[in-house]
């Protein structure tokens, strides 16, 4: 029996149209705008001044708190300005503008393709490099990676789970790196596993990606046969179901454990990292390359095959530049998504620039994405059947519309992971998640407020 998470889930159409497009490297534009808020937590503080010369990989902003991350320049050139600029949602955020001159990297960065399999012995040094290289989780939440890799005192990791599920429709960037950078990902996994005290590492991949399963399995066996420190790494095939890549769902699928409400994965001995994060860890620790690039998918049903791409981009590239380079925004597109169609964000501003966690430009047509007219709840229970957290969205919707905070908390609105399964499934087109999201925010504020008293 193939494993999967035990509660709810849906099966939206896979639509991995760009899965066979090899990763291409985007040329560097003449100018980049690098945001200081590319991670979960406090925005970083700029440490360069206008007029400074910077190299690729040089620190340009420092963490401003425990949960924060370094930001590096993705190009070489001159700092032109530091100031507010609109991000993809249209909100102002500090960006560092750099005029590109040449492509000169900081010293120590190893840009060769040689695979480095020997893992440094000193865990402290490893963690330091991960932190100094600005590695954050690339599966969506962009949580600083080194924080997750240092379990708080008294907690121990029983399993490192590498998330290769890529359960969102359309996205293929993780799939491509699993095919093209398999060994690097496995080295990254071995590094993280060592830091966590040698717990087993499981790479979870959904069944609809047989080539990725094959490539990763082969990479694991090869490294186990030729190098030290690779025992206890395995690939696990998971049944296809959305949201398999949700942290809580993946822990349930792989370990058969469930994180308590408001708890953290480490409470049940789990650490989850995306395969792309693992690659970033490899580059940081083995190659001394800070996180300034990532892979994104350009896709959509309204794009012809030759305009489907998987691009290696540098952070700070304007999305409009990438869209133009890829052949322009298609006529039929009414919505452009950054991220997957289930949890990604609609882009309000195509002048916004790429960040560490950028994963796609997804074009959706009106027919695909415009919601139908809302009608009465027919109590079909499909939303509850779909909810991977076992919540009852129809009930939360009712309570939220009547501002019933106690009932909302009793019925666990705070556990909602905003996966969108409920809204996706509702035949009456009720905007369940829109309403639940607001209520969740309110209830969490109430719970936090209580804790402080």
């Amino acid at each position: 029996m193939m494993k999967t998470f035990s509660i709810g889930g849906i099966h939206p159409c896979d639509s991995k149209i760009s899965k066979d497009c090899r990763i291409e490297v985007l040329p560097v534009p003449s100018k980049v705008f690098i945001s200081v808020a590319q991670h979960l937590g406090a925005p970083a503080t700029p440490v360069v001044k206008v007029g400074d010369q910077v190299k690729v990989g040089q620190v340009i902003a420092e963490p401003a708190g425990f949960i924060s991350a370094y930001v590096h320049s993705s190009v070489s050139g001159t700092v032109k300005s530091i100031g507010p600029r609109k991000d993809l949602a249209g909100n102002n955020m500090t960006h560092i503008e750099i005029d590109v001159e040449g492509d000169e990297w900081v010293e120590g960065a190893d840009l060769t393709d040689t695979l480095v399999t020997a893992i440094p012995e000193d865990n402290k040094e490893i963690l330091d490099r991960i932190k100094m290289c600005g590695v954050v989780g690339l599966g969506g939440a962009t949580f600083p990676a080194h924080v997750k890799l240092c379990p708080p005192p008294g907690k121990k990791a029983d399993c490192l789970i590498l998330n290769g599920a890529e359960c969102e429709p359309y996205l293929t960037s993780d799939y491509r790196i699993m095919l093209e950078r398999s060994k690097e990902i496995v080295v990254g996994a071995a590094i993280m596993k060592q830091v966590l005290g040698g717990c087993p590492a499981v790479i979870g991949i959904e069944e609809n990606k047989p080539e990725a399963i094959k490539a990763m399995t082969a990479a694991v066996s090869e490294l186990q046969a030729t190098a030290k420190g690779y025992d206890g790494i395995s690939v696990m095939t998971l049944r296809k179901k959305y949201p398999q890549g949700g942290e809580k769902q993946l822990i349930d699928a792989v370990m058969g454990r469930q994180v308590k409400s408001m708890g953290l994965p480490i409470d049940v001995g789990a650490v989850v990292q995306n395969v792309a994060t693992s690659l970033a860890v490899y580059e940081a620790v083995q190659k001394n390359i800070p996180l300034v690039t990532n892979v994104m998918t350009i896709t959509g049903d309204c794009l012809p095959m030759e305009k489907q791409h998987n691009y290696k981009f540098r952070i700070g590239m304007p999305l409009s530049y990438i869209a133009e380079y890829a052949g322009g925004v298609p006529e039929e597109a009414v919505k452009i998504i950054s991220g997957g169609p289930m949890m990604g964000k609609a882009i309000a501003n195509l002048d916004a620039t790429t960040v560490k966690g950028s994963s796609s430009l997804l074009y959706l047509t009106a027919e695909q994405t415009v919601r139908g007219v809302e009608s009465a709840c027919i109590r079909c229970g499909k939303c509850a059947e779909a909810c991977p957290m076992g919540l009852e969205p129809f009930l939360l919707n009712k309570y939220a519309r009547n501002n019933m905070m106690d009932e909302l908390e009793e019925n666990a609105v705070q556990d909602c992971i905003e996966c969108g399964c409920c809204l996706y499934s509702c035949p009456a087109n009720i905007p369940l998640l829109d309403i639940i999201r607001l209520a969740k925010g309110d209830v969490i504020r109430i719970i936090r407020g209580r804790g402080q008293k």
């Binding site: 169609p341 919540l391 809204l423 009456a428 829109d434």
Partner: protein, 321 residues
């Protein structure tokens, strides 16, 4: 590209809509409709036509002129009620009785509660039960009108339903019934009960299309089979056997199409099982010990009223709790 749309996630939506679900229920009912029309001919066509037309007309008029709400005719739920009501009546029912049934189903049971989604009782069952109480003679007139084709098994037992026969003459009266025959051509009874195979075909379609979950239906069958099995083993001279109880008295029609009505059944799977067991028990209690020879409609109505309570106590298992 003109203007970019910005709205919260998710950005995709299932193709399933209220309308497509209701239409699927109608499709699932088609085999039963075809069989009933073939066997009961013009009179069944008339019952079906009057029932569907009056349900749709009432839905339209009431939502538009009395409730002044957006018209819900397009969601196909009135068609479902119309077809179900017709299949729940004998083919000989006069048109005006059918119309009264539609008034009770759509006008009273559905729209006075606030329309689709708000009603407590299944509209078609409410209509049928009202007619059963108000017009017992019409509702138990099982003479077989001339159909387009005929079958000896059907013709042989005109005049009373099998359950009615048991009511009058005890188990003796149904000796010699061929169950295999009943699978295909049930005898007497309301038009929709004619062919078990046709109804099961509909059930399979609903399951495959994921319109309904099987829990409610299966727990009704299970309960009826176990309950009647025990009594039948104790005394086969007095009590009818499980196969007979499963195949007659509208049990299939009710358990597949009416007990599973979204609005009037529990939300959770656990709730569905409790609901189904309740219907099964009540049906058998009414059949064995009650005044009416058949009990499915009453059982469903009674359990409909308990649904809010079941929903209150049965919740799905939550993650990590």
């Amino acid at each position: 590209m003109n203007k970019i749309l910005v709205s919260p996630s998710p950005h995709l939506h299932t193709k399933t809509s209220t309308k497509s679900l209701m239409r699927d229920v109608v499709i699932a009912l088609l085999p039963a409709v075809v069989v009933s029309v073939l066997f009961y001919g013009w009179s069944e066509l008339l019952v079906l036509g009057v029932s569907v037309a009056s349900c749709m007309l009432l839905e339209f008029l009431i939502t538009k002129y009395m409730l002044k709400k957006p018209c819900t005719l397009g969601d196909w739920s009135a068609v479902v009620t119309g077809v179900l009501l017709a299949l729940n009546l004998p083919a000989t029912t006069p048109w005006w009785v059918v119309f009264i049934g539609a008034v009770v189903a759509v006008g009273v049971a559905k729209l006075t509660f606030g329309g689709l989604g708000q009603n407590v009782f299944n509209p078609a069952i409410a209509g049928r039960v009202f007619l059963l109480i108000s017009f017992p003679t019409y509702m138990t007139d099982w003479t077989k009108p001339a159909g387009f084709i005929s079958n000896a098994a059907v013709d042989a037992y005109t005049g009373a339903t099998p359950l009615g026969l048991v009511g009058e003459g005890g188990v003796e009266a149904i000796k010699g019934l061929d169950y295999l025959d009943m699978l295909f051509w049930n005898i007497g009874g309301s038009a929709g009960e004619l062919s078990a195979i046709a109804l099961l075909l509909g059930f399979a379609y609903l399951l495959v299309r994921r319109v309904i979950r099987p829990y409610i239906t299966l727990s009704i069958w299970g309960t009826v089979a176990v309950f009647s099995g025990i009594f039948w083993l104790i005394n086969p001279e007095v009590y009818t056997d499980p196969a007979f109880n499963l195949l007659t008295g509208g049990l299939l029609l009710g358990s597949i199409f009416m007990a599973t009505d979204y609005v009037t059944s529990p939300m959770s799977n656990m709730g569905g099982v409790i609901f189904g067991v309740g219907i099964g028990l009540l049906t058998m209690l009414i059949r064995y010990f009650g005044a009416y020879p058949e009990g499915v409609s009453f059982a469903i109505l009674i359990m409909n009223s308990v649904v809010p309570l079941i929903n209150k106590w049965c919740h799905a298992k939550k993650y990590g709790r």
